[in-house]
């Protein structure tokens, strides 16, 4: 797809590691919301995953700054690395808020958003190795559409969740806490879509 030379393949390795971080983060998030036990330990594991993501992102930026000819546009590499990094960051913030706010029980839409994130990050994880070969362009585009579907679903879940929170006769602070958490989770699905958008653009320019 790109005339890749060995020293440039490293970007794909790094993106793959970022996607793996995002996917493991999504699974940790879902497990936390489904089990809702050992919160401090689970939050600690999420934070470790997020730090691992920071390290890989930093490697991409350093590598990018030291590489003169890149297989794909510099802006696209930078954007891809930052948006992949954001996914784990936002999930970590959501988990953090759950702990900080001393939430006593998860709500269904939070679990549904976590399931969207597990799905979307699994698709992204599959998409990145496929990008190495231009023969896979159609497959990559199909996977991108799957990510868009998850983002739409995330949007729908957020809207239903906000309607339910405001209607349910809840304590205002309860509403404020969950509105905050739900919005962080929905933003993470937006960042998954951003990743798919950057990848679609790269495919279009290089096929």
């Amino acid at each position: 797809m790109f005339r890749l030379i060995p020293q440039e393949l490293v970007f794909f390795d790094l993106f793959g590691r970022q996607a793996d971080v995002a996917h493991r983060g999504a699974k940790e998030l879902l497990a936390l919301l489904e089990e809702f036990d050992h919160l401090p330990e689970r939050a600690k594991r999420m934070k470790d995953i997020e730090h691992e993501g920071d390290t890989v992102t930093h490697e991409v930026i350093e590598k990018l700054n030291r590489t003169f000819i890149t297989p794909i546009d510099r802006e696209d590499i930078h954007e891809l690395a930052c948006r992949l990094d954001d996914i784990a960051d936002l999930m970590d913030t959501a988990v953090n808020r759950i702990v900080l706010y001393k939430v006593t029980a998860p709500i269904e839409p939070a679990k549904a958003l976590a399931r969207c994130l597990v799905h979307a990050t699994a698709v992204i994880l599959e998409m990145l190795p496929a990008m190495r070969n231009m023969k896979n362009a159609d497959r990559v585009r199909t996977l991108c559409r799957d990510v868009h579907t998850q983002e739409n679903e995330g949007d729908r879940i957020e809207q239903a969740a906000l309607a339910a929170l405001f209607e349910g006769g809840h304590d205002p602070l309860y509403v404020l806490k969950w509105k905050n958490i739900i919005e962080e989770l929905e933003s993470a699905t937006d960042r998954c879509e951003d990743v798919a958008n950057v990848i679609e653009g790269i495919v279009l320019k290089n096929v």
Copy 2:
């Protein structure tokens, strides 16, 4: 202004269509807030406008990815398309929140912000065809200043609205709902200003 060749003029056609989408969206928004009836039908029309905007934006990005020489910097085209798209998105989100939150009556600052948006998008709609000819550079700059004025006005309205909401002895959930809606509307005026900023930069580089 730019040495335009026919295949590149299409960007201006597309920006014009995006501005038209934004302006029609602003008028729908204002009508909804002023009449405050048939909300589901009005929200549906707004969503249709927003989808139309997505389609045009997608066309710009595709066209950009397939065009090697563009009349204006690639980054500027991308930025302009995305910020124009954001205007309708944010107005659609605001309408959505109004429906979801089962708001029972509009508040005056929301109408005032909608009027700012109708004004600012009308100016943007006038600005884009003017950009095709460098003789209009002064006219374009004057129009940009008009958009900045609307953004300052939007800022002022938001501040007064927040002060009134927090002072009015209102139910906290009422405050939370309207704070959210007002902030989305004010963000839409910020995106109008972003559009004017990109256009000012393009004019400066090309005169």
Copy 3:
């Protein structure tokens, strides 16, 4: 470090002026929170500083649009100017909210965040002249790490503040007001970190 020619040195002068604006803003903010008197006068001074920042930022963008060869990448200059500008903007918004919301007394974490901002902007102010000479690369990197430390500290303060706000048996509107102010202040520390990140990238590319 960069083969600077006189006409390009002006960018460093302008960045230095932006950093000075940010640092003076941070000191105003801290004084306001510590003294908590003459709020309208103090808010007015903050707004003046923010406007001064807008003027310098506008000068950078104009200069950039008129300069064909720049000592550092155009994107980096644009990013640096915008992120430096954001710092004063966010502090001004926070002060504005304090006045608008008729806050009657400051809270400790707001002061702690203001102290982080005074520290981080002082480091940025020191960093910019150091960038003029490549012999200072190590010094610049050390200063960047100091900014990162302040951002981490800002994050920690925000989290503790949110936990305390939600736990303290406070009125929901009180929580909503301070959550808003604390988040604006924490965003300002994020923008300081963005500045350090852009600078680290520039150093890496030019050493």
